[in-house]
Symmetry: C2
Subunit: 201 residues, 2 copies
Amino acid sequence: MPQSPKVTAVDSLPANEAKWIEFQKITWSDQTGKSRIWEAASRKTRGKSGVDAVAISTIIRHPSRPPSTIVILQYRPPVGAICVEFPAGLVDESETPSDASVRELHEETGYKGKLSYISPTIVSDPGMSTANMQLATVEVNLKEGDKEPEQALDDGEFIERVVVPLDSLFERLEAYSKEGKMVDARLFHWAAGLHFARTML
Amino acid sequence: MPQSPKVTAVDSLPANEAKWIEFQKITWSDQTGKSRIWEAASRKTRGKSGVDAVAISTIIRHPSRPPSTIVILQYRPPVGAICVEFPAGLVDESETPSDASVRELHEETGYKGKLSYISPTIVSDPGMSTANMQLATVEVNLKEGDKEPEQALDDGEFIERVVVPLDSLFERLEAYSKEGKMVDARLFHWAAGLHFARTML
């Protein structure tokens, strides 16, 4: 029976012990020609594509249900909480971000879909990190009576998937937040843009 | 005359030299009770509010122009490029995120607006970072003939503001990307959600 994950200690990490991320001391020349220093975190895992990660905005269409998307819930040690995110993952060394999008959606949610859009490379938190990503749209067309597919998780992966109608996504994310879950900023922004278009324009 | 900023060197940063960010070695107990390690980057600047930063989705309404938002363009050393972002900034030690939103919008764009919404605390990149933020909506109502206000930038801040009609925001971000600018993932997701609602629902 699964236990509640929890953070048991937070220590400072010496640079020479870090396996997945590294610290950069960036020297740059500003608009006046002055030399300055900026500090940033970077992933060590970026492969040939030059893109760290992909996230997937899934659109599920069904003959008798409203258009929906999928969010995933998983414990994230950096923030010590269950996070609510779009399905997402790192791009493998020799795969394309497009292939990674369809693969990750299948692994994390069980759904196989068709990639209909992939964004340019965008940056996750450019004030403190080199991390970049692409946002994919994957469409899943269901027929009446289709069963919910099985996830294809690795051993030790605990990821819950939730299908959410698009017209209640924003309210659902706010409700998750009230329960103590942490919503990913990118997913929240997508939902806020959608909500804004539907209610204020 | 301003020069083009550029990165001149990238070195590894020893933990004891870092002033703004730090590395955490997080020990956590997973769903099977097994003890595991996670590596994360963290800002050292978080104040009393518990929130690192705010970003502002501005809505400008004008009697004869379409509803618009403001994006800012600034050079970001971690990604070595001009980034396109919502106006944003760190929350000062003793201010509230709501106050920071109105203050930052004024400093970076010159516009004074009314806060109409602030999100729960959301997390920017929870797989590698503790960074968190809140997303504000600030409304600016202009009258016919109102002039574009002056920015209130600090010395050494080079921030360009651009007013963009909401109905062309998504295409504008894709165009910036084609020019070699890097679009912030959170702004891009907001625009993608808005675009999706207008074109596919």
